[in-house]
Symmetry: C2
Subunit: 220 residues, 2 copies
């Protein structure tokens, strides 16, 4: 690590550099600089019965009690079908992307028109379970049914933070630990690096709840 | 994959099950069910010169133009020192966690009092660069200087979404690609699984911008 530090040329970007940057270059840089992101497909259906599927990298845990998640969207881009469907029906599904469906998942980001189901175009199968009226991705190993709760306009760039409640969860018995923790590696779950990079994480360790008077130890 | 589907017992949780769950079990479950999260240390300093360092898994890209990130916090918990310092000084740093500093990073989540610097307690070094008045983590390979822009109260659970502008970035030349994409694997960057799981991702591939009439292809 010392060798890394000593030998390595460190780049420095300030605000002026960022503003003057080529738009596409800056998008790649800023999308990867915050670290790895979650990788999910959001499934919705409109009032005419047309299904929609879209990849999102911004789905984030907001709280456990009540169980809430959030994600960020630009309602004016390709994601507008997802947004309109959620506003119309109040429900959607969140489906984890695993290493076997990366290319199909990525392809959902193409600008298909509103009458086209991405499920058909990218070769993933819509499935309905337990009367939940939004389509799950059959191939996904973790599936979540969500209900729209609220939205917050982030005035600084006109994006929306959508807040949703977690209403139901499907996951393989084998990946759930005794204390409720899900081993995402055992689902072959992936993480997103920037706009278009897909990565497969390997669990290094779980650590005990940290206390001021003890050093971190692996959870046995 | 067919064998996985056929052989596997699938668990189903609905809203009633989630509400009745043991609190700790639910926290583990809901914190891991949304997928992998980013892994960053936020560095701040208070008006008396006491530094603070805290681990966050909710730092998320909000937009590239202007360059914005967001993160979620509960101002009433251990994170309150971070919040108070950001409100006092308007600035903070975001420092990527890599595989060599996981235990130190995790230990910052212990409830140290407000006069204690987590840098000292966990064995990481504070460093100041280019007149930026918040401490960076010397050991981190990607360091971001941020300015507080706004906050949104998520009424549903009284958390805050903090919106900040990216003012400066330090990163190794070797991990930055010609198109602005950062190879996070080459920084040994990690992702977080749930509350306490740390994972090391390996890049599988980058894919071309998706268009309706073409199939996804690797970015050459």
């Amino acid at each position: 690590m010392c060798i890394f530090d000593l030998m390595e040329k460190i780049l420095y970007f300030n605000n002026d550099t960022l503003i003057e940057m080529d738009k596409r270059y800056r998008a790649n840089l800023i999308n990867s600089v915050t670290g790895y992101k979650s990788a999910n497909l959001l499934g919705t259906i409109n009032s005419k019965g047309v299904e929609n599927l879209a990849i999102f990298s911004s789905v984030t845990h907001l709280g456990s009690n009540p169980a809430l998640l959030g994600f960020v969207m630009r309602p004016t881009t390709v994601e507008r079908h997802t947004y309109r469907n959620i506003k119309d029906t109040s429900i959607f599904t969140v489906n984890h992307i695993h290493s076997g469906i990366i290319r199909s998942a990525h392809q959902t980001s193409a600008r298909y028109d509103g009458d086209t189901s991405e499920f058909d175009k990218v070769g993933l199968e819509a499935v309905y379970k337990n009367e939940w009226k939004a389509p799950f991705v059959k191939e996904a190993r973790i599936q979540i049914g969500c209900k729209y709760v609220n939205e917050y306009t982030i005035m600084e760039n006109n994006t929306l933070l959508i807040v949703a409640s977690i209403e139901n969860i499907y996951l393989p018995d084998s990946v759930l630990q005794d204390d409720g923790w899900i081993n995402l590696q055992e689902t072959d779950g992936i993480a997103i690096n920037g706009l278009d990079g897909y990565a497969s994480p390997n669990i290094i360790e779980r650590l005990m709840y940290a206390k001021p008077d003890t050093s971190p130890a692996p959870l046995s």
